[in-house]
């Protein structure tokens, strides 16, 4: 007799919750949520991370996330469980470009990109050394003080040079008693004598450098300390413990940054990538302009090279070209980003103080930087000299507090990108190295066949 047709198989029963699992008990961490950190994330702009139910739509739609250790799904539950160190020392937070693709596709309105931004804001505040500066910078009320410090130091240094050499350095009185004749900003710091030349500019620039070079030295030192701290933290918290390839990763990262290769993958806020790229290139041009001045000036002083020509430079002088070009690009890029952010806060998240603080400083630098030559050419000495002073105060603010403001993403993101890329390269290498050589196997098969 036969039995045919369909037979119902018994439902396979679920595995026991107590099934033997190989867990290295000693390595299991005790989980203790950091409630203050969770509250901080909410204050810093991620109000909805609790809503996440781990569907991982966010990670699936993200075009920027790497295949291994993808984000931002895991960041969401780390936030829900108050895992501060895991989040702070997490390259993903910086690999993310806050384009909002994840937030647009989140079925629960948990806004993952808000969380990524919030973690970064907490990093600006707490990660940089010394942390007290970050904390103070995060308070809007402290902003006048920080600008005041810049103004005071600038005024102080002018006063000091005035005492050292009153003949060449008129001191602060220039601000209310402008020198006669054409507006020439080197008069700000030194009484103009003889023909306009780079050499005549030099004493004034020295005044600026005597403040700004130490300030830059401080900012860069703190940034380096913070970068090392961050690198160590990421290494300690990342599950990958194998070889890393830093140099090729660094080269790749620089190319990625210049081309904004990853940023352009974002769909929801496509224009944001271009806005950011213009801003970056604008900054790079300004950086070039600043350094050209240094080259021309110190080239003359130390080596007697006449490369810059007489000042004040006018278009199409290379310094002015790069300077104005940089300013325009930055203004364009930044304005487009701000407009985008203000018109689509639902997609990008609301801008917080960290964002505005940075934006105000850049705008300050750029607007005053554009006004300076305009006022100069217009011969409005009474406004021009104070405008130049204000310009320098904004520049001071931007550079001196770099590690504690949003500007710090310059090295946080670069470090994270290098870290992620070096791990990616390292783990690929490891796979290749451990792969068994194919040739002997083939030989054996041939032997068997023979």
């Amino acid at each position: 007799m036969m039995t045919s047709g369909t037979t119902l198989s018994k439902n396979s029963q679920s595995k026991s919750c107590f099934e033997e699992k190989k867990i290295e008990m000693s390595t299991v961490e005790i989980i203790e949520p950091d409630f203050e950190f969770m509250a901080e994330l909410k204050r810093m702009g991620s109000e909805n991370f609790n809503k996440c139910y781990q569907c991982a739509n966010c990670t699936a739609v993200c075009d920027v996330t790497p295949e291994q250790h993808p984000f931002p799904r895991k960041e969401m539950i780390w936030a829900q469980w108050g895992q501060k160190d895991k989040l702070i020392y997490n390259p993903s937070v910086w690999l993310c470009h806050l384009c909002g693709d994840c937030t647009a596709h989140c079925p629960r309105d948990a806004r993952p990109s808000d969380l990524m931004a919030a973690v970064r804001n907490v990093s600006y505040k707490e990660l940089a050394f010394p942390a007290i500066l970050g904390k103070l910078m995060s308070k809007p009320a402290m902003s006048p003080l920080f600008y005041g410090i810049g103004a005071a130091l600038l005024a102080g240094i002018m006063a000091v040079w005035n005492i050292v050499n009153p003949a060449r350095h008129p001191g602060l009185s220039v601000l209310w008693n402008p020198p006669s004749g054409d507006v020439i900003y080197s008069k700000f710091f030194s009484i103009h004598q003889g023909a306009n030349s780079v050499a005549n500019m030099a004493p004034g620039v020295k005044v600026i450098d005597s403040l700004f070079l130490p300030v830059m030295g401080f900012a860069i030192s703190m940034a380096v300390i913070t970068t090392i701290k961050m690198w160590k933290g990421m290494k300690a918290h990342h599950p990958y413990k194998g070889a890393v390839k830093v140099i090729p990763a660094l080269i790749g990262t620089i190319i990625d940054i210049l081309t904004h290769k990853n940023f352009h993958k974002c769909k929801t806020n496509k224009s944001l990538g271009f806005g950011h790229m213009f801003t970056l290139w604008g900054f790079l041009l300004l950086f070039v302009a600043t350094n050209l001045v240094l080259v021309f000036m110190y080239g003359k002083i130390w080596f007697g090279l006449e490369v810059g020509g007489p000042t004040p430079w006018e278009l199409p002088h290379i310094v002015k070209l790069t300077g104005y070009g940089g300013a325009m690009l930055t203004l364009l890029g930044l304005t487009s980003m701000i407009l985008r952010r203000m018109t689509s806060a639902d997609k990008l998240g609301k801008a917080g103080w960290t964002d505005w603080n940075f934006i105000i400083a850049i705008y300050g630098v750029i607007i005053t930087g554009i006004l300076c030559p305009v006022l100069r050419i217009g011969g409005m000495a009474g406004i021009a000299y104070p405008m130049y002073f204000i310009h320098l105060v904004f520049v001071f603010y931007l550079l001196a507090y770099l590690p504690y403001s949003k500007f710090a993403h310059l090295f946080y993101r670069t470090t994270a990108m290098v870290f992620a890329k070096s791990i990616e390269l390292g783990s690929k290498g490891a796979v290749e190295e451990t792969a068994p050589p194919a040739a002997p196997v083939e030989e054996k098969e041939e032997e068997v066949a023979a």
Partner: protein, 717 residues
């Protein structure tokens, strides 16, 4: 004039497929008049044609048209008329090559079978008795109270029996119940006090607390119920609702999760009790815990404990978390789950809990529970959503345990039925009494007794209330049908019941043992005693009886034997034997499946098969197999529902019993010199209907290729 009339409908393609002139003469072979041919028999004119003959005295009618599952209410002519439907449309026209000899023979055979059937049967007389209207509700928790109130609202009397001193059950001992309205956002008052007051204030409801059921005898409409509260008391009841609730899975069995061995570990039931009587405090020192962990599926979905999901524990834990957060917003709650199951709108409550900063949720597998710092607990969890194994230290641990049916492993019993097959409802899957979960979820295997609430399936308060309402409906429906002598599911409205020729009974007890509904009791001498109102008319007793003494007025061994013998074994010229395969098809799934093949009109069925619908495969008598083979059939297919743990048989064991009987025929077959492969058992699920033509085709081909014609064919003719 003969009192038997036959009709052939030529609509729906029947007329184009068959030689109607030849077909209408078939009844003459059975000493009947030629068939009346009508182009549209289900039309008012067609029905009127039949009605005219009925009015003129026809008592037996054969309608050869569409399947009997089409328009059953139109082709009904009162109890005086015994009617058979011959399936010319789905059974012949829509599955066969038109106007071939094989198709003609198929139609001819089916019409002949119809003529034989009406000659062998008559409409049964219903069992009518004076029946009681009362509904007995056993259990006074939320389910029992709801059932009682619903029955009362329908105007029936209720007797409510509760073994505890107070009404209310588990629900009334709770602090709050799951959210229902207001966006399903917050736990609600249980409302049990009002419900209990309503029951006490209801004139239709008589309440007996501190009382147990001592004995229930009889059948629907005439149950004799004995209750005991100190002294015993007996009364009549029509139908019964069993609402005896659940037992929380005991913490003592959850030692592997720290219960008993680790301090400050409690079950969710204990936690609820604690919450209902005051603030949550640590059992060790009576202080408020700062951190509380919950382990979901504690002993659930675990083959060593309860292998099923109890459906309520996830919601219970989320509710408990909300208790803690309300008690003190500084208490932190950790919840470790396998899958969070918050069906329907409970999802909103789950979302509101997710939004709470102080509640930490992760999926994970609990790897160990051990004593933690202080008097706390340390839980190691693997496979978490955090991407790694974690350890959680908490001051208190709650094990979210599931529910068992109050009836499971209950030695005391609750119903104490005076039934041949035992005193309680049969416990099926995991001890829950159920009958046919898919097709009639409210039925049980004891007619007129309905289980409701968590006693029959794990469920929460709201689901229990719904279930209680459903059971109230079924209890009333059963009373109404019983009053007219009619069956409940699956043969709703059938008025027949078994007739036994007692003088030939050998007291073998097969009928009393195999009846899925325990319809039979036994007298002192082990003779079967019929309780017609318990009967569901499946015919399993008929198939079981080796003496062949059980029959129904409209369904008997002789009737089916005669029908299968009415089939042609040769071609029309009587020159050549034809392959014949008999399909005994269950009317519940096989018949609809075969109709569906026809209604698709995509596939042809092999024209050598003859389909004979029977009630349940369990009603199959071995006699029919013997008769089929000796009548010259080359093979027989038993087509019935799947059986086993996930049975689909509407009468639970029918197809299994038929398969068993078929197996026993092996010896007989070898005596007859026939191959055992000539018999095939095919379980069929309705959704598998498309496979049937292939199975049939393959079987017929195998018979033709491997075995050839049944040698008994020539003796049969």
């Amino acid at each position: 004039m003969s009192n038997t009339k036959t009709y052939i409908c030529t609509g729906c393609g029947i007329g184009e497929c068959l030689d109607i002139d030849k077909l209408k003469a078939v009844p003459k072979d059975h000493s009947l008049e030629e068939s009346t041919v009508h182009p549209f028999l289900c039309s008012p004119e067609g029905i009127a044609t039949i009605q005219k003959d009925v009015d003129a005295g026809a008592t037996k009618v054969v309608v050869a048209a569409c399947s009997r599952r089409v328009f059953p209410e139109r082709f009904t002519f009162g109890r005086a008329v015994f009617l058979d439907r011959v399936n010319l449309r789905e059974g012949v026209t829509w599955v066969s090559e038109p106007n071939t000899e094989d198709t003609r023979l198929l139609a001819k055979d089916y019409l002949a079978m119809g003529c034989v059937r009406v000659s062998k049967g008559e409409n049964p007389e219903p069992f009518i008795a004076d029946l009681d209207n009362t509904v007995l509700v056993v259990g006074g928790g939320i389910t029992g109270l709801t059932s009682a109130l619903e029955v009362s609202k329908a105007g029936k009397k209720v007797v409510l029996v509760e073994k505890e001193k107070e009404l209310g059950g588990f629900m009334s001992k709770m602090k709050a119940r799951f959210p229902r309205g207001d966006g399903f956002m917050a736990p609600e008052d249980t409302g049990m006090k009002a419900k209990i007051d309503e029951v006490y204030g209801d004139k239709n409801i008589t309440v007996h607390t501190g009382t147990v059921v001592e004995k229930i005898a009889g059948q629907p409409g005439m149950f004799d119920v004995t209750i005991k509260n100190g002294s015993s008391d007996t009364f009549k009841a029509g139908t019964i609702i069993q609402a005896t609730g659940f037992k929380p899975y005991p913490g003592e069995k959850l030692g592997h999760l720290g219960y008993g061995s680790t301090k400050n570990v409690v079950t969710n039931a204990e936690f609820e009790e604690m919450a209902a009587t005051g603030d949550i405090k640590k059992p060790t020192d009576g202080k408020e815990p700062k951190t509380v962990a919950f382990i979901q599926c504690a002993g659930s979905r675990d083959p060593e404990h309860l292998s099923y999901c109890s459906e309520f524990c996830c919601m219970a834990t989320l509710k408990h978390a909300s208790y803690l957060r309300q008690q003190n917003e500084n208490i932190r709650v950790f919840i470790i789950y396998k899958d969070m199951r918050t069906p329907g709108k409970y999802e909103y409550f789950y979302k509101s809990i997710q939004d709470d900063d102080g509640i930490f949720l992760t999926r994970g597998e609990v790897a160990s529970v051990e004593a933690g710092p202080g008097d706390g607990v340390s839980i190691t969890v693997s496979d978490t959503l955090l991407g790694e194994s974690i350890k959680i230290n908490a001051e208190m641990l709650v094990l979210a345990a599931g529910m068992e049916s109050a009836q499971a492993n209950n030695e005391e019993g609750t119903l104490h039925l005076d039934y041949r097959q035992g005193p309680e409802l049969p416990g099926l899957s995991h001890g829950f009494p159920d009958s046919h979960y898919i097709c009639f979820p409210y039925e049980t295997r004891r007619t007129g007794i309905y289980s409701a609430g968590p006693v029959r399936h794990p469920m929460d308060g709201s689901a229990s209330e719904m279930d209680a309402t459903g059971a109230a409906l079924k209890a009333i429906q059963c009373q109404e049908l019983s009053r007219e002598g009619k069956a409940v599911h699956p043969r709703v409205g059938d008025t027949g019941y078994p007739d036994i020729r007692r003088d030939s009974c050998t007291q073998c007890k097969r009928c009393t043992e195999e009846c899925p509904y325990s319809m039979y009791n036994e007298d002192d001498k082990s003779n079967p005693e019929i309780n017609p109102l318990r009967c569901r008319r499946c015919g399993i007793c008929m198939g079981a009886c080796p003496q062949k003494i059980i029959s129904f007025k409209d369904y008997s061994i002789d009737m089916v034997s005669s029908m299968l013998r009415a089939v042609s074994m040769q071609d029309e010229a009587e020159e050549e034997y034809k392959t014949r395969v008999l399909i005994l098809g269950c009317e519940n799934d096989a018949l609809p499946a075969l109709d569906m093949i026809a209604q698709d009109r995509m596939t042809k069925l092999n024209p050598m098969v003859r389909i004979l619908p029977i009630r349940c495969l369990g009603s199959m008598s071995m006699e029919w197999l013997n008769d089929a083979l000796s009548a010259g059939y080359d093979g027989v297919i038993l087509m019935g529902c799947a059986y086993g743990d996930d049975y689909q048989c509407h009468n639970m064991k029918g197809s299994e019993l038929a398969h068993e009987r078929m197996t026993k025929l092996e010896d007989t077959l070898s005596r007859m010199g026939l191959e055992k492969e000539r018999l095939l058992f095919t379980p069929v699920a309705i959704n598998d209907y498309k496979k049937l033509p292939g199975i049939i085709e393959e079987f017929v081909k195998q018979i033709d290729d491997d075995f050839g014609h049944n040698p008994f064919k020539e003796f049969a003719i």
